[in-house]
Symmetry: D2
Subunit: 354 residues, 4 copies
C-alpha cells in the first residue's frame, strides 16, 4: 500500500513530537506537512523544535518547513489527513476550518470531543461510533470531518472498563488519578511546583473524565450517541512522574461478579475483529499484572509499545464491588498514539482512502 500523506498541527509541542516519533516508521502514513504557531511558521522543523523526547528526532522531518496555523491559512497543507495536537484554546476553529476545507482531522484536542456529531473514539471500545461521520458531513457539508481521541486519563480508564461493562454492566465508578507531568505538555508544570510534591488539581480534568467516559462507553443509536448511564466521580492529581498515568478505580456493577470473573473479563479482552489488524492495536489491549505492587508507571507504561493498559490489584471494595489500579502511557495511548490509532480505524473502515 502506498503511504497516505499526513500533516501534524502543533508539531513542535510535546504531543506533536510524539506524533512525529510514532509516525516515523508507520506502515500506512507518511508525514508530509507540519504546522505550528506563527512564531515558528516559515522555519525548518529542525531549527524550530526543541526536541525533548528520549530518542532522537526521526530523520526525514527536520527539513520540513513549518506552515502557519491561522484558521484561514492552515488549509494549504499538502495532505488529506491531519493530526491535531493543538492546545484547546486554539484547536476549535482551526480544526473546523480544516474539516470544511475537506481534510480528515484526527484531533487529540478537547474542543470538539463532546460535539454530538463528532466521534470520540478509542477503537477497541467504540469503533462503531465512526458512523457519526456521515451525520457530521450532512450537517456541516463537504467531505472533510473531525474525529477526536479522548483525554489521556479517560482513554486508559474506558479501555479497562469496556470488558467489565460488557460482562457485568457499570453503575458507579470512583477514580483517583496520579498523572505524569508529560500530560501538561512543554514547558508545562514548573519544576518548583512538582519536584518532590503532589498537586491535587488538574484544570478541567475531572470534568473531562466524568463526561467523556460516558460518551465513549455510550451506545450509538438513531439520534447519535446515547451516553452510558453510570455515575462517575473523579479526583485528579499531578505527581512527579515523567510518563504514565496511574488510576485507582472502584466500580459497582449491575450485578456483582466474583473476583475470578472480573479477572477473566479483563484477561480475555481482545481487540474486536474490526480493530485487531490495525497497526497500533496491541496484541493484548489489557495486561493483567499478578504482582501485589503493580502496575507502576516506570515499569509498565511501555506495555504493548505504550498502547496497552495494565491493570493490577483487583480486589473487593468494601463500598462498591471491586477496586483495582489502571495504568497507561499518557502521551502514547493517551494522546498521539491514540489519535493515530483512530486514523488507522478510519482507513480500515474506508472513511479515509489513500
Amino acid at each position: 500500500m502506498r503511504r497516505i500523506p499526513v500533516g501534524i498541527l502543533g508539531a513542535t509541542g510535546m504531543v506533536g513530537q510524539r506524533f512525529i516519533q510514532l509516525l516515523a516508521d508507520h506502515p500506512w502514513f507518511e508525514v508530509k506537512a507540519l504546522a505550528a504557531s506563527d512564531r515558528s511558521a516559515g522555519k525548518r522543523y529542525a531549527d524550530s523544535c526543541r526536541w525533548i523526547l528520549p530518542r532522537p528526532m526521526p530523520e526525514g522531518v527536520g527539513h520540513l518547513v513549518l506552515q502557519p496555523l491561522e484558521a484561514e491559512t492552515a488549509t494549504g497543507l499538502d495532505c488529506r489527513l491531519v493530526f491535531s495536537a493543538l492546545p484547546s484554546s486554539a484547536a476549535g476553529p482551526i480544526e473546523e476550518a480544516l474539516a470544511r476545507a475537506g481534510y480528515a482531522v484526527c484531533s487529540n484536542s478537547a474542543p470538539h470531543r463532546l460535539d454530538p456529531d463528532v466521534p470520540l473514539l478509542v477503537p477497541e471500545v467504540n469503533f462503531g461510533h465512526t458512523a457519526l461521520i456521515a451525520e457530521q458531513r450532512l450537517r456541516r457539508g463537504g467531505e472533510g470531518f473531525i474525529v477526536t481521541s479522548a483525554n489521556c486519563s479517560t482513554t486508559e480508564l474506558v479501555l479497562a472498563l469496556k470488558p467489565l461493562q460488557q460482562a457485568f454492566g457499570l453503575r458507579r465508578i470512583f477514580v483517583v488519578t496520579l498523572q505524569a507531568i508529560s500530560g501538561a505538555g512543554y514547558p508545562g508544570v514548573p519544576a518548583p511546583d512538582i519536584l518532590g510534591n503532589v498537586i491535587p488539581f488538574i484544570e478541567d480534568e475531572e470534568d473531562k473524565i466524568e463526561r467523556e467516559s460516558r460518551k465513549l462507553l455510550g451506545t450509538l443509536g438513531q439520534g447519535g450517541v446515547q451516553e452510558a448511564a453510570f455515575i462517575l466521580s473523579a479526583q485528579c492529581n499531578r505527581v512527579p512522574v515523567a510518563d504514565g498515568h496511574t488510576e485507582c478505580v472502584s466500580v459497582e456493577f449491575d450485578r456483582r461478579p466474583t473476583r475470578q470473573e472480573v479477572l477473566a473479563a479483563l484477561r480475555d479482552f481482545k481487540s474486536p475483529p474490526e480493530t485487531a489488524e490495525l497497526p497500533g492495536s496491541p496484541a493484548q489491549p489489557i495486561q493483567v499484572r499478578p504482582e501485589s505492587d503493580r502496575p507502576q508507571p516506570v515499569r509498565d507504561c511501555q506495555a504493548g509499545e505504550g498502547m496497552a493498559v495494565s491493570v493490577g490489584r483487583v480486589r473487593p471494595c468494601p463500598l462498591l464491588h471491586y477496586k483495582f489500579v489502571v495504568l497507561g502511557h499518557n502521551t502514547v495511548r493517551g494522546a498521539a498514539g491514540g489519535a493515530i490509532h483512530n486514523a488507522e480505524l478510519l482507513v480500515a473502515q474506508k472513511w479515509i482512502t489513500p
Copy 2:
C-alpha cells in the same frame, strides 16, 4: 513544672529521630533513656545513629548510651514513660513487658492498636478513650499501660473527618492516599522503586485505615469502644515525596449538608477544652486552604508545626456527597508528634504524674 524523664524505643530509626527532635525542647518531657536493637546497644547514640533529618541532632542526646531492647531486659530504662517507635514485628511483646513492669508506653507501633483495652488516640478526636486505661490495668495488672497512636494516614484522615462526623454523621467514605517515602522509615523504599515512579501498594495500610478509623471515631461505652458504623474503602499509593501524605477523600453523610456547611464545620473546628492547652495542640487543628490546587505536601505539611492538617478543594461529589483533599505531616502528626501529643494528654488527665 519539673520535666518528666522519658525513654525512646527504636531511637535510631526515622521515627525515633523525629521523637528526639520533637522532644528536644519539650516543656514537659526530657529524654533520659534510649533503646535500640541489640546491634546498637551499648554504643553512644551519636556513634550509632545515622542522623538523617534536615536539621542537626539536638544537643544532649548524643552521649546517651543505647540500651538493649529484649523484652526481658528493656525494663531497666530510667524513666516512667516510654515512646515506642519499634517496627511492628518487634513491638508487641516488648511493649507488653514494659507495661507489665510499670511503664506508661506511648506507642506509635501497630500491634496493640486494636486491642479492646488499649486506647487508640488522636487527642482532638477521642481524648475520652483514655478511660480504657483503667480497664487495661484491671485486666493486665499493675500501674503500667499502653496507649497507641494511629497509623499515619488514618490520623490525618480522622482529624479531618471528626467535625464532619459531629455535624452531619458519616456513612460512607472513599479515600485514596498518596504517601511520602518517610512513612516507610529508613532505609525504607529502595530508590530504584520510587524515583519518578508510583507504587500502588503499601502493605497492610488499607486495612489499617479501614479498621483504625472506625475505632478512633467510635464511641466509648460500657463494653469499651463501639466502632463507628461507617463503611470506608481505602487505596494506598507511595509517591516520590519526602514528607506529607495527601489523601483524596469522598464522603457521604447521614444528611447532606451544603458546601458552606462543610467548610464551616472544618474551619470552625477547635481543639476541645480537654486538649486545647496541650503543648502539641495546634491553634487551628484543621487549616482550610482556599486555593484551587492546595494542599500540597511541600508547601503545607509544616502547617501548625506539622501538627495541623490541611484540607482543600471541598466540592460536591457526583457519587457520594462531597469530596476534598487532606494533607498532614506523616512523621510529625502521623507518628512521633502524635505519640507525644498522646502523652501530653495523659499528663493533663493525670494518667501520668511527674
Copy 3:
C-alpha cells in the same frame, strides 16, 4: 532601635518571597514598600503573589499594595533602603535610578556587580569593600548608592575559600556545581527538563563564578578593588534538588598545607569582629562535616539558618593540592539572606542610618 523601613523590588518572585520571609521578624528592618512588574502593580501583595515557599506568607505584608517598577516611577517608595530581586534584564537602569534618587540599593541582581565603583559583598569575606561607596557617591553624585551580593554559587564558594586564601594563598581552582532548581526562580526550569535529569548548563553562570570570585577575594587599594590573581575554572549543572547548591572544588595553594592545616583553617574561621554581631552572621560561618558522604543539600542547607556553608570530604587531590565539597543555601545565603546581610553591614558601618 527603631526598625528601618525597607522596600523590595521584584517582591513576587522566588527571591522576593525569600526577602519577605527573612525580613518578617528582622530586628533592624521592616518591610514597608513592595514593587513588582507593571502587571501586578496596584494590586495587594496577597492577591498578586503566588506564594510558593514551604511556610506561610508572613502576616503584615499581604495588604501592601504593589508599586510599579519603571525606572522613572520606582522612586516613590516610602523607605530609604531597597532590596532588589529584579531579573538581570530589568535591574540595571532601575537600580541606578533609585540610587540617583537617594536610595541605598542592596541588590541581588547581576548588572552592577562588576562595576568598579560598586561593592560586591559577602560580609565575612570583604566587609571593607564598602569603602567603594564613597567613590561611587563621588562619581555618580548624591547620597544613594548600590551595593551587590554575588551570584549564589560564588557566594558559598568564596566563603569557603576565604580562610584558605588567608592561610595558604590561592593559585588555581576547579569547581563543578550541582545547583538546585530554586536558583532559576519561578516558574524557572520546566519540570520535563529536570525531573530525573541533569542539565549540564546554566546560562552565564560559569563566567559569573570565574569573575565575581576574583573581585570578592580581591584587595581594596587606591584604584579600587584589585582582583585576586588565581585562575578558576567552573562547570555548572542543574540537578533535581529543591534548595542547596553542591560544589566539588579542587584547589592549588601558594604553598601546600597539610590536610590538618586545611581542616583547621576551615574550622577555625570566625566572622571577623566587623561582622560578628550582625543579625545574619552565623555563629560558625563554615561548618566542617566529618562524615564521608556529607554535605548534602537536603540535610545541610539549613545550617546556620541557611547562612552557613558546609564543607566536607577534604582530601588530597592528585592534580592540585586538595579537593573538597562545599554546600550552601542558594536562596538564603546565596540570594535574599546575603543581600540582607549586606544591608546589616551597611547599617553597622553607618552607611545607612535609621
Copy 4:
C-alpha cells in the same frame, strides 16, 4: 552461526537483569545457565527474580533454574562462557574457580580488573589488550580465563578520551561525575538518601576511575600493560537520576589543539576495524551534541542503543586546555552491554570459539 551458550552469574540483580535483556535476541549468544546466591539457587528464574527493568522479562529465561554460586560448585554450568555481575565481595574467588575450570569469564566486577594478567577492556579503546589472555593462561594454567570490563564511569570517560589521546596526548584530567542510582544496583540507594538530594560520595569510585583509566589507555608491551602517564583527579556524586552518568571533564593535552581540532577528533572517531563489525559496536561510538545544554541523561543515554557516549559543551578551560561534558548509559555501555561487547571481541579474535 550457531549461537554460543552462555551463563550469567548474579542473574537476579540489576546488572544481571540487563545481561538477560541485552542477550535476549543476541545474534551470537544464547543464555543457557543462570546462577545466583544460595538463597535463590534451585528456584526458577521467574519465581526468584524481582524483575525491575522497564520492559518485560524476555521469554525463554523464566523457566531456567538458578544454580548455586559457591566457588566449588559454580563450575557445573552448561556453557563455556559466563558473564559475571557478581558483587565485588563475592566475585574474586568464584571467577577464578570458573577460569580454572575452563570457562571464559567476562566479568563486570571489580576484583580482577587491575590484575596484571587480566585484560581490562573497552573494545574500541584497547582491543589489543586481549593478548594478555595468553599470558594469563600460562600463569594460571588451563584454557579458561578472565577478562573484565571497567567501572561504569571509567568506561564512558575513556571512550571519550581515546581519540583525544591519539591526536593530542593526555597530560592532566579533572573529572566530576553525577551518577545515576542504577549504578548502585538494587535495592541500592535508600530513597530517603537521594530523593531531591545529592550524595557527594560513592565508595571506591574515585580511586577506580583514577586507576582503571590509566590501564585502559595504557600500552601493551613485553611486560604487560604499561599504564598511561596522565594524572587524573576524580570527584564522584550520586544524583536522583535513573540511568545515565554525566561527567564534567577538563583536560590538558601534550600539545594544545584548537577547539575545532578537538571537535573533529571526537566526531571523526570510528570503531577500529577490529571492533567495527561486533554486534554491540555503535555506528558512531561518540556522538557530539551541538546544543548548549546537552548531553542530558534522560534524553541522551539511549544513544546508539545505550552503547554510544555523548559529548557536548566542548569549550576552552581557563586552567587546563578544554572542558566538556560526557554522558553514557551506566548499566548498558557501563556494565552489561560492555561485558557482552568484550565477549563479542573475544569471539571475533577467536579466544572463544563456538
